[in-house]
C-alpha cells in the first residue's frame, strides 16, 4: 500500500488575507478570514468542512476558528510541529485524512501576526518552550540565537565546499524580486533588486546579508482539500495532490543538525524528494515549476540539489541565467516567495502552487503539468507535487 494517498485528493479552494507588517487585528480574525475565503473560493459551505489541520505553532484553536466560520461537526483535527517544516506536513495530513475517508473535506490554515506580534527573527532569547531548553543550552550562551545564525553555519560550510559565493545567493533573491514586482500582494511589489543591491546590503549573520533573509509578515492563508471525485463538481480546476511526504533525517536537530558527517546537504529533504518521486512516479524532469521554501536564499540551493534538479554542489550554476524565472528551466516562487511576497510559514506558497496549476499566477509559466511545493529547511520537513486532474 505504498501509494495510498497518491492522486486521491485535490486542493479545490484557496484563501488569504492581505499580507502586511501590521494587520491591526487578532490572529484568530486572520485565520477566520482566510478560512472563509478558501471555503468561498471552493464554492462550498462552512458546513461542508469536517476536518482541520494546522501548525503546532499556530495560536488559533481549531474549535475557535470553527465557531467563527460556522463550521459544524469535525471528524479530524491535527497539528504538525517544527515551524515551517510543517508547511506541507499539514497538506500531507489533509491528504491522508481525505484519502482514508477519515474526513471528506479538510481545511488547512495558518495565520499569525509574525511581524507586529511575536517575531521569530528576534530569536530564542525569550519565551523558550520547556522541552527545548536543554537543546538550546548548547547555543544560547554562545550567541547563536536566531534562525539566520543557524542557517549561516550550514551556508558557510556549503560555500566553502562547493565554491559558492554571496553573488550566487543573490541570484535567488533577485529572481523572487522579479516575480514580486508584478504581484500587488507582495511587500516588494514594484521594487526592483539587483545583485549589486544585494551585495551592498548589510550582514545579518555572515555569510547571510539582509536580502538573503525573508520578510516578516502578518497574514493568514487557508486551503481546502477534498477527494478528486468531489473536486470534479466544484468551480475551479483542481490541483491534484500527486504525492506528499514528511521526513526527519538521521541525527536531526531542530535547526542545528551540526553533528552529521556532512552539513552541506539535507538528508531529510533528500528523503522528502525520494518519497515524492516514488509516490508520483515522476522525476525532476517532469517538474515544470517550484515553490521552494525560501526563508533564506541558500536553502533554495540545498533543495534544488535534494530534488535532483542539478548535482550536489552545482545549484550555484543552476540558479544563474534566469533559470528560476518564468521562461527558465524551473520558474520558482512565482508569487515572490517568502523573500519578496510575505513570510506566512510557506503556506502562501501552497496557494501559489494551486494558482500555477490553475494557470492563474501573476507570473504564469506556459507549462504547468506538475508543481513542486516544499516545506521549511533545517527542521523535520515536508513536500508535495501538485498536478492536473486526469
Amino acid at each position: 500500500m505504498a501509494n495510498s494517498i497518491a492522486d486521491q485528493t485535490a486542493i479545490v479552494g484557496i484563501g488569504q488575507t492581505e499580507f502586511s507588517k501590521n494587520s491591526g487585528r487578532s490572529e484568530l480574525q486572520l485565520a477566520a478570514e482566510a478560512v472563509k475565503a478558501a471555503i468561498d473560493d471552493a464554492g462550498l459551505q462552512p458546513s461542508d468542512i469536517d476536518g482541520m489541520t494546522t501548525f503546532s505553532l499556530d495560536t488559533n484553536d481549531e474549535i475557535e476558528v470553527a465557531r467563527c466560520v460556522g463550521i459544524g461537526d469535525l471528524k479530524f483535527f491535527s497539528r504538525i510541529p517544527h515551524g515551517g517544516g510543517a508547511a506541507i506536513g499539514v497538506m500531507h495530513q489533509a491528504a491522508m485524512a481525505v484519502a482514508t475517508g477519515t474526513a471528506e473535506t479538510v481545511v488547512v490554515y495558518r495565520a499569525f501576526n509574525e511581524r507586529s506580534g511575536r517575531r521569530y527573527s528576534v530569536g530564542i532569547a525569550e519565551g523558550i518552550v520547556t522541552p527545548d531548553l536543554i537543546h538550546w543550552s548548547w547555543y544560547l550562551p554562545f550567541g547563536l540565537l536566531t534562525p539566520a545564525s543557524w542557517v549561516a553555519m550550514f551556508t558557510q560550510r556549503y560555500m566553502h565546499e562547493y565554491g559558492c559565493k554571496g553573488s550566487d545567493l543573490a541570484e535567488v533573491a533577485v529572481s523572487t524580486r522579479k516575480h514580486a514586482i508584478n504581484n500587488p500582494n507582495a511587500f516588494f511589489y514594484g521594487k526592483e533588486l539587483t545583485v549589486e543591491d544585494h551585495q551592498n546590503s548589510r550582514f545579518i549573520a555572515e555569510p547571510l546579508r539582509l536580502f538573503d533573509c525573508c520578510q516578516e509578515s502578518d497574514g493568514g492563508t487557508a486551503c481546502i482539500v477534498t477527494t478528486v471525485e468531489r473536486a470534479k463538481d466544484l468551480q475551479h480546476k483542481p490541483a491534484v495532490i500527486r504525492s506528499a511526504a514528511q521526513a526527519a533525517g538521521a541525527d536531526q536537530e531542530n535547526m542545528t543538525s551540526f553533528y552529521r558527517p556532512s552539513i552541506s546537504h539535507l538528508p531529510e529533504m533528500d528523503l522528502v524528494a525520494k518519497q515524492n518521486y516514488e509516490m508520483s512516479g515522476l522525476g525532476p524532469d517532469d517538474i515544470d515549476a517550484g515553490i521552494i521554501y525560501d526563508a533564506f536564499t541558500p536553502i533554495v540551493l540545498f533543495q534544488l540539489e535534494s530534488f535532483g534538479f542539478c548535482k550536489r554542489g552545482e545549484a550555484k550554476d543552476f540558479v544563474k541565467d534566469g533559470n528560476l524565472e518564468v521562461g527558465g528551466r524551473l520558474p520558482c516562487n512565482t508569487n515572490g516567495g517568502q523573500l519578496s511576497e510575505a513570510y506566512i510559514h510557506g503556506m502562501n506558497g501552497v496557494n501559489e502552487g494551486v494558482r500555477l496549476i490553475r494557470g492563474t499566477s501573476l507570473n504564469q509559466p506556459a507549462k504547468n503539468d506538475h508543481v513542486l511545493v516544499t516545506g521549511g529547511v533545517g527542521v523535520p520537513t515536508s513536500g508535495m507535487i501538485l498536478g492536473q486532474a486526469s
Partner: protein
C-alpha cells in the same frame, strides 16, 4: 512589552506623517563671538591657535579668529531650558514655537517610547564662521524607520538634517543626526528595585537539566568533557541519556584535549543581544576526538576566522555570570 496593534498603527500613522516635514529651529541669540569660542575650546580641550590666539590667527589663511566647525550647532542651542522642557504657553510667552523634531519626540514619548539615544551624526561645513556672523537653523525630518528591535528595546530611528545659514541666507554647514527613540527594555525582576540598570549585561545562561547539568558543572570546574558510551565507547555531543549506537544508558564524561579545528562559523551582526560584543564569531569546532561543539572563537579579529583554523579551548569567565569553553587560535 509593546503596544497593542491598534495603538501602534495609530502611532505609526502619526510619526510617518512627519517624514519630509521642515521646521525652523531658530536664530542664534548671540552673534559668533570670541568669548564663547574660548569657552567651547576650553571645555573640549582644543588649543588650536586659529580659534584662540588673535595674533597668530591674523596670519592664517582666515586672517583672524574663526569658530571651530563642530561648534556650529552650539550657536543655535536653546540654553539650559530647551524648548521641550517648556509648555506651549511658556514658549509662546517667549515668542518661540516648538519645532517639529521636538514635537515628534513628544509623540513617541507619549506612546511609551520614552528612551532616547543619538546613534550617529554626519557633518558638512561650507565655510568657517567668524566673529560677527549670525547663525540660524532649519531642520528637515528625513526619515522615520519602521519599528526595530535593538539591545536597548524596540524603537524607531529618526533621521533629521539641520541646515545652518548665515545672516545673508547662505548655507554655512549642515548635519544629519540619527536618534533612536525606544521603549526601554524591561530589566530583570531582581534588578527592578534598582534605579540604575546593570552597566555590564551578562550573556543568556544555559538552562541546566538532568541531561546536561554534569557537563556544565565540569565547565564550572574548568574542564571540557565529552560524553562517552560505557558499552561501545562511542563519543557523543551534545549529550543525550541513551547511546544512539547501542542503546546503552551507561556513560561517563571524558576530558577533551581541547584541540580542534573550525568546521564552520558565522560572524554575527544583527540583531544584537545583551552580553555580546558585535560583531563576533560563533563557530562549529571539530574536536580532535571527532565530536563537534558550538562555541566562540576569541583572540582574533572575527574577519580572520576561517574553516580549518586550528584552535585550542580555554574555559573562561566571559562575564560576571558566565563561564564557557571558548576557543582561541593556536599560535
Amino acid at each position: 512589552m509593546t503596544l497593542d496593534p491598534r495603538k501602534k498603527q495609530e502611532l505609526e500613522a502619526k510619526i510617518q506623517s512627519y517624514v519630509g516635514v521642515e521646521s525652523v529651529v531658530g536664530t542664534a541669540s548671540d552673534l559668533v563671538n570670541e568669548p564663547m569660542i574660548r569657552h567651547w575650546c576650553e571645555a573640549m580641550g582644543d588649543d588650536n591657535p586659529a580659534y584662540l590666539d588673535p595674533n597668530r590667527a591674523k596670519d592664517s589663511v582666515h586672517r583672524g579668529i574663526v569658530a571651530p566647525p563642530p561648534m556650529l550647532e552650539a550657536w543655535v542651542m536653546p540654553g539650559i531650558r530647551p524648548e521641550w522642557t517648556l509648555s506651549v504657553e511658556e514658549l509662546e510667552a517667549q515668542g518661540r514655537t516648538i519645532h517639529k523634531q521636538a514635537e515628534l519626540m513628544n509623540v513617541l514619548t507619549e506612546y511609551g517610547y520614552s528612551g532616547v539615544v543619538g546613534t550617529d551624526i554626519e557633518h558638512g561645513f561650507e565655510r568657517y564662521l567668524k566673529p560677527g556672523d549670525q547663525v540660524s537653523a532649519t531642520l528637515r525630518i528625513e526619515d522615520v524607520s519602521e519599528e526595530k528591535a535593538t539591545a536597548l528595546g524596540i524603537g524607531y530611528f529618526v533621521t533629521v538634517k539641520r541646515s545652518f545659514r548665515d545672516q545673508n541666507g547662505d548655507e554655512v554647514g549642515w548635519n544629519r543626526f540619527r536618534i533612536l527613540k525606544f521603549w526601554p527594555a524591561e530589566q530583570p525582576a531582581a534588578a527592578s528595585n534598582d534605579a540604575a540598570p546593570s552597566a555590564n549585561p551578562t550573556r543568556l545562561q544555559p538552562p541546566r537539566g538532568h541531561d546536561n547539568v554534569w557537563w556544565w558543572d565540569a565547565v564550572d570546574a574548568g574542564k571540557l568533557l565529552i560524553q562517552k558510551c560505557d558499552s561501545c565507547n562511542t563519543l557523543r555531543h551534545p549529550p543525550r541519556p541513551m547511546c544512539g549506537e547501542c542503546q546503552s544508558l551507561d556513560w561517563s564524561g571524558v576530558e577533551a584535549s581541547g584541540k580542534g579545528t573550525v568546521y564552520s562559523f558565522t560572524v554575527l551582526h544583527h540583531p544584537k543581544f545583551p552580553g555580546f560584543d558585535y560583531p563576533f564569531a560563533a563557530a562549529l569546532i571539530e574536536l580532535e576526538e571527532g565530536t563537534r561543539i558550538v562555541s566562540n572563537v576569541l583572540g582574533c579579529d572575527p574577519a580572520d576566522v576561517y574553516i580549518g583554523m586550528p584552535v585550542q579551548v580555554s574555559v573562561e569567565q566571559v562575564d560576571e555570570a558566565t563561564k564557557l569553553p571558548i576557543f582561541r587560535p593556536v599560535k
